[in-house]
């Protein structure tokens, strides 16, 4: 007992026991882990800067002389801000309605999360089939209305900047919903009730009580969606060419893929995204530095106390119909048709396009590659996330190490995936680590991209779980590893399942980074879809999109089976 007491941490935390293991191992383990994560995260970014600064910073000099540079920057900012505003408003509204769903309709609460399951590249394709000015199904139907029947196109134009913002914002709504709802269910309704009893109106109670308590969720959700909006790639790439809508990510891709490749230029044009990403990660950390203050509310809320509203299921139904049913239905119709036309030939529907996809070697191979790379990456990133969360939560290692680790694991969320993809491409085509064209290159990029998600899932779960059980195990004589393997890990099973499910889903339809690190032999599902889009037919593209959705949905169902539903509700 005396020996164990000597290892007690003097802080407010419970004792840290290394009875079964030499103290040297953990002390080295934290810096070693930090170096590993540092290599994963920083190597591609350092490589990019080295290229941009090479040859007298010729990359930056060329960027300065680029035609349309300021327009590209302005469009990038407009896209990010516009989509964030839309996502924040819609996501927060949906989150508020979600706690007002009656028990009968509570299952609808998962609807706003479903767009995450639909690959963005498939979703954007679906929206194109709906809202293309002349051939879009919705536009065609609207033009049959009396007051629009004299028009030959429109009224909507999916290729316009406005609609690119709307489609992007709709896609980001799920993330805001995820964060705000998680924050909302942790706020005890009793606080609102107290305000109402003291004479506050519902609006005052919401503004003065609920919103301030939602600050961490709103700040985090807003920052995440702003970064995602800033790095948005899929919608501008697929929809922007026609009206010359260029953003930084599409320019990075353009200069990375066109021969002769100017690596310096491509790297330099990615720099604004890098800088803003780093800055926002730091800012977010400063704003939410005292996490414990907010998280202390966790698990104490009582969402069932919110009064059910009849409007809530209607709102969710309408959202689900617009954001999910319509684009997927459009994809199905086009995938079954010989041509994409505004008037559907119901007799001509067949599965020929699905057969074409499955008979196309790179498409069939892409499914295997996606599943293989995603599974490998998940198998690596989930343990990494667990360890990172453990270090951040338990306050092991020095402060500077923890701060550095926190920064590093969050950085992939701040820097667009495309930028990581470009950095990885330029790293892996040159010695000493030549991995271009292999599944390993893809896997390493995937692990890097998923670090923040896996870490966040485990960190939230650890914060909710507290120290009591681990401390009890230690007091009972369990060593560091024994306590983790027999107590902490089993208790975090739902968080682990959530991390597996979330990272698998995000990776199985990852597109931006994949487009840069793939080769002609290692297509992923998203890049195969883009290949069909740019060199094949729209009908086959739609069939590929449906196949992607099915594969991803199967992944979600498996994760759900493993406990993702519990994790998503309790741990995030």
């Amino acid at each position: 007992v005396r020996q164990r007491r000597s290892h007690f941490n003097q802080s407010e935390r419970l004792p840290v026991s290394w009875v079964r293991y030499p103290a040297k191992l953990p002390r080295l383990a934290v810096p070693a882990f930090l170096v590993t994560i540092g290599c994963l995260v920083l190597a591609p970014l350092v490589r990019l800067q080295a290229l941009a600064l090479s040859d007298g910073a010729h990359g930056y000099r060329k960027v300065a002389g680029l035609r349309n540079l300021w327009r590209t920057l302005a469009t990038t900012l407009y896209l990010a801000l516009g989509s964030v505003v839309l996502a924040l408003v819609l996501g927060t509204l949906l989150a508020l309605f979600s706690v007002q769903l009656s028990s009968r309709w509570r299952w609808l609460g998962v609807v706003p999360l479903l767009p995450i399951v639909i690959p963005p590249v498939a979703s954007v394709t679906g929206w194109t089939f709906l809202l293309a000015p002349r051939a879009g199904f919705v536009n065609g139907a609207l033009r049959k209305l009396p007051f629009l029947d004299d028009q030959v196109q429109g009224p909507f134009d999916i290729y316009s900047t406005r609609w690119i913002v709307l489609v992007t914002g709709l896609g980001l709504t799920s993330f805001v919903y995820l964060f705000v709802r998680a924050g909302l269910v942790r706020i005890s309704y009793e606080l609102t009730e107290a305000a109402l009893v003291n004479g506050a109106t519902a609006r005052t109670a919401f503004v003065s009580v609920v919103l301030p308590l939602l600050r961490p969720s709103l700040v985090y959700g807003g920052a995440v969606t702003f970064l995602l909006g800033l790095g948005q790639f899929t919608a501008p790439l697929l929809l922007g060419t026609r009206n010359n809508v260029r953003v930084l990510t599409t320019e990075v891709y353009r200069f990375s893929s066109e021969s002769p490749v100017d690596y310096g230029l491509s790297a330099a044009i990615a720099s604004p995204l890098l800088v803003v990403g780093i800055w926002l990660v730091v800012l977010q950390r400063v704003l939410l530095s005292n996490q414990g203050r907010f998280v202390s509310e966790a698990g104490k809320g009582s969402p069932a106390r919110y009064k059910p509203r009849k409007l809530a299921p209607v709102v969710f139904g309408a959202y689900g119909f617009v954001a999910i049913v319509l684009p997927v239905l459009a994809l199905f119709l086009v995938a079954l048709s010989p041509f994409w036309k505004p008037d559907i030939d119901w007799r001509g529907l067949s599965f020929d396009n699905f057969r074409t996809v499955l008979e196309t070697s790179f498409a069939a191979r892409s499914i295997r590659t996606s599943l293989g790379a995603s599974t490998l990456a998940v198998a690596i990133v989930v343990p990494l996330g667990y360890i990172a969360a453990g270090i951040l939560y338990s306050r092991r290692g020095r402060d500077v190490q923890r701060t550095a680790l926190d920064f590093l694991v969050n950085l992939p969320l701040g820097v667009p995936a495309l930028v990581f993809g470009a950095g990885a491409l330029y790293t892996f085509i040159n010695p000493p680590v030549v991995l271009y064209g292999t599944i390993w290159a893809i896997m390493i990029v995937y692990v890097t991209l998923m670090l923040p998600f896996a870490t966040r899932m485990f960190l939230s779960a650890r914060l909710s779980q507290g120290d009591a059980y681990e401390g009890a195990a230690r007091v009972a004589g369990a060593g560091f590893l024994t306590a983790h393997l027999t107590i902490v890990v089993p208790m975090l099973r739902s968080a682990a399942a959530g991390a597996v499910g979330l990272t698998f889903v995000l990776l199985s339809h990852e597109f931006a980074a994949s487009l840069l690190v793939k080769s002609t032999r290692t297509h992923l599902m998203g890049t195969a879809l883009y290949e069909f889009w740019s060199t094949g037919s729209y009908t086959v593209t739609a069939a590929m999109a449906i196949i992607m959705c099915v594969v991803t949905t199967l992944g979600v169902l498996i994760a759900w089976r493993l406990g993702f539903d519990r994790a998503s509700h309790e741990d995030i």
């Binding site: 002349r134 060419t241 893929s257 040159n430 030549v434 064209g437 002609t520």
Partner: protein, 415 residues
Amino acid sequence: MSAAKRRLVYVAEWDSVRTNEGEDMQVPTGSVCIVLVAAALTVSAGCGSDDNGATNTTAAGSNTSAAEVTEATDPAVTAKADSSETSAPTTVEREPDGGAEWAAIVEAAEAEGAVTVYAIGTDQVNGRLESAFETAYPAIDMEVIRVLPGEVGTNLDSEERTGAIADVAFQTNYPWIIDAADTGRLAEIVGPNARSEEWEGTPWLVDGLYQYSAVQPIGIACNTDLVESCPTTYEELLDPKFKGLLGMTDPQFPVVMDYWAFLEGQLGEDGLENLALNEPIIYSSGVPAVQALVAGEYGVYGFSSPNALDEIANGAPLEWVLPGEVWAAPFLSYIPSWAGHPNAAQVVLDFLATSDGQASITAGFAMSVLPEEVPGSLGAEYGLTADDVHAADIYGLTTEWHAEQYERWQQTFGR
């Protein structure tokens, strides 16, 4: 004639052709290298030391170059090299079947068992090529991957550093090809058909390094549901009735920029400015543009490859016409010197030079450059030969020229 002598005659004859035409000195170096190396009995090692040797470089150490196979299968070649090198180079005729050396290359190709082609053809054309080739060479599994001209150079550059995927390219990335030829990064084509008199000494085989495998004419396609009569001249595209109904392709690739330069010549002074008044919808490449045309997103596509004919065959409401003056894009085939299956690559290039190979890549898609009509080719169908069209000047399409023209085009079309 012995196999050794035949081989040396090939080499001397190729050198003779180049010397007579006054071509640059880097390419003959490759052939000279072969002779010198053969004389020194150190084929692979000797050529490997010369960066300009077109047939000598392989990226993967385990792979065998075509020249290596030839030497390995007939050691007698090297013994007679010195005397043959100094003999009259053009006195002996080439054997039509290629002789034992070619047989050895084919045998080595079959041992390699696979070949990958980066092609610009549509899925139908690529499928036809694959099928025809595998019928002719059942022991070699061909994979044809469609790669756009803007990406193929990047892919090949990456593969040169990291490992080969493509063994052959059938493409329009002209600046890259010319640069690769100049810097010894293309393997010399050695097949008997590819080097037959139909190709040798013609503009269609350049330095023995790249082959004009086909020439594709560009026409005008219309959606018959939206447009009553399809324009038959480029001037008609300026008609205001096509405002908002016109589609064109972004000249982000040099080959498309050459088309725009041709179009400017057809439309005359201020022609492009007048075309801009019709607010054409700009597509990134031809396939999405044709797909949007089929969907009815717009009515007239001014840069339509014969891909539209496939859609018409499937029942799409399209019409495809060739205007009076026709611009065409040459499709060049070549072997990167780091090809993983160098012998199979030689067999592919040789197959493309045959009438069967030509038929597979030109049927309903392009024109053959062969003097004899290739049945089923687009040229035969429309009564066109390569001499009847304005083919892109591949040597004029430098990166600098493209950048300058693209800037001007962007200003004209407000992009």
